[in-house]
């Protein structure tokens, strides 16, 4: 190297000044393209809203904030050691897993089923789909509120109807049914998402395979199983991944309906973190839980990006 960089700044023209060994300055032209100027603000803001907070989250795991938020005490790996022995956090992961698994299974079965049925009736498809998908737009906090209202044992509509067929209990208040109730709330809100995604996949698929199945005398169920579902499989996986990540993202509905109770049976991991941080004030420990959640969502994100880039085919559904 004949010269070394001494000023990393850009001059007005976008030149970079380098000082040669013999002491003379040399201008080296750096091309800044219009695209770079367009991208720069987003990148700067993204660093502020994502990279910096993530580093801060990691940093916070080494401190104890219980005494004061402004003057945390350095405690090394204590929070990290604690999480491996914490049965409550372990239990929350278990609840999250059950919650995610059961709701995603139900949502897939019902959502795909409805999509196939809607695909079967082209004429009435639009109106049915429009009405079916309305819950998607309901704020999760309102879903929680509604769950609580509809299931209230003394004046809830659903509780009343269940009462008529002999089910008499405090549905959100008993350990046996609360998790099922919050799962059904999730199913109510998000099954239509699976439906619209899968339906879009079905609508994008070529009609030739269906027609040839028709010629060969396949029954309706055979067509669904052997032709439609395989062709829609990518859209099903995309929808499932999105939902899996959203289960990690949100906890509003559960917060509003059961607040994680009774006896922590509905306390998914996000809600646990929220409580640890803002009810018990143990922000350092909450940060460790946050890191563990980030690891899971990053893994899911990786799979998602792979799927995303695999969609460049003829019909990307």
């Amino acid at each position: 190297m004949k010269y070394k960089l001494i000023k990393g700044i850009f001059s007005k023209k976008g030149d970079r000044i380098r000082r040669m060994k013999n002491g003379k300055d040399q201008k080296i032209r750096i091309r800044i393209r219009t695209e770079d100027i367009m991208l720069a603000p987003s990148i700067i803001v993204l660093i502020a809203v994502s990279i910096f907070p993530t580093i801060y989250l990691l940093y916070a795991t080494f401190f104890n904030y219980m005494g004061s938020v402004d003057k945390p005490v350095y405690i090394g790996l204590e929070n990290w050691i604690k999480i491996f022995k914490d049965m409550e956090v372990f239990n929350s992961w278990k609840v999250t897993l059950i919650y995610a698994f059961v709701s995603l299974t139900l949502e897939t079965i019902i959502g795909v089923g409805i999509a196939v049925l809607l695909y079967t009736i082209p004429k009435a498809r639009n109106i049915f789909l429009t009405l079916w998908m309305l819950p998607i737009f309901v704020a999760p906090i309102v879903t929680g509120l509604l769950g609580r209202f509809m299931l209230n044992s003394s004046y809830g509509l659903y509780a009343y109807l269940l009462n008529l067929i002999g089910i008499k209990r405090d549905l959100l208040g008993s350990t046996g049914s609360a998790l099922l109730c919050v799962i059904l709330m999730d199913v109510w809100e998000w099954t239509p998402l699976i439906t619209i995604v899968v339906l879009a996949g079905l609508e994008a698929m070529p009609t030739a395979p269906l027609e040839s199945a028709e010629v060969e005398g396949a029954t309706y169920l055979q067509k669904v199983w052997y032709v439609m579902l395989p062709l829609a499989s990518r859209s099903i996986s995309v929808a499932l991944l999105i939902r899996a990540m959203d289960v990690m993202r949100f906890f509003d509905a559960i917060f509003m309906s059961t607040a994680g109770g009774p006896a922590d049976t509905t306390k998914i991991i996000g809600l646990r973190l929220y409580e640890v941080a803002f009810r018990f004030g143990d922000i350092g420990y909450a940060a460790v839980i946050g890191i563990s959640m980030l690891i899971v969502t990053t893994l899911l994100g990786r799979i998602f990006v792979k799927l995303w880039y695999s969609g460049g085919g003829e019909y990307s559904a």
């Binding site: 987003s42 998908m133 906890f251």
Partner: protein, 272 residues
Amino acid sequence: MLRKRGLIICYSILTVAIIWSLTPIVWMILSSLKVEANMFSMPPVIFFRPTLGTYIYMFTEGGFLLYLRNSLIAAVVTTFLSLILGTLGGYALARGKYKRQKDIAFWVISTRMMPIAAAIVPLYLMFSKLHLIGSLFSLIFAYTTFDLPFCLWIMMSFFADLPVDIEESAFVDGATKWQTFYKIVLPQVLPGFVSSGILAFMFAWNDFAFASVFTSPDTQTIPIAASLLVSQTGIQWGQAMAIGTIIVIPMLILGLISRRYLVRGLTMGALK
């Protein structure tokens, strides 16, 4: 594809599905129009004289306008910022031939997928250091963690779909990249632009978790107002249902407007 009997089964299942998905929403709206006495009577009262009493109370004595104002400011500013930055950035990423395009894309998507609970903690620490807790700025900043990567990514997928030829011929005719961008490219993605904006707005409008930590009585948003009605002693269901209705109705309308690009928005452009 189905014969008559099959079709009947098909329509019946769909009807049941729709009753299931609509009942809570309809029940909420009906309850918000009832007087308290009717609201709690079981068997349920279906025919009643609707009253706007709850709404009138909320807007006059209930101080609801403040919540509405806060919600609107936070959601509108966030959407506006994210959409402008995201559209520019999305275009640059789609056309700029960056070597690390995939890495940037992965970074963007992981930001979008960041669990709210995990994002709240560092933001809370940052804001309390800077004494920003309780300001609408903190809320806007928090919503941007989701809305910017969302808009950037979706707009990128829209731009990537456009054929490059038109832009190239514009360059040949002597247009600058900026001119090409807003005179030729932007009009073509306008519907996508609007629906991404709607979904970004919806996220901010519907949020509860961030707002529950970052707001003070002056800056509380509508979802917080809803949660405040729940107390140890009980819930003011009349107002709760009215607030729920006010949160939900505009989103239903906006959601249906953006329907055409909904799949794309909800799947982050993985499906079109």
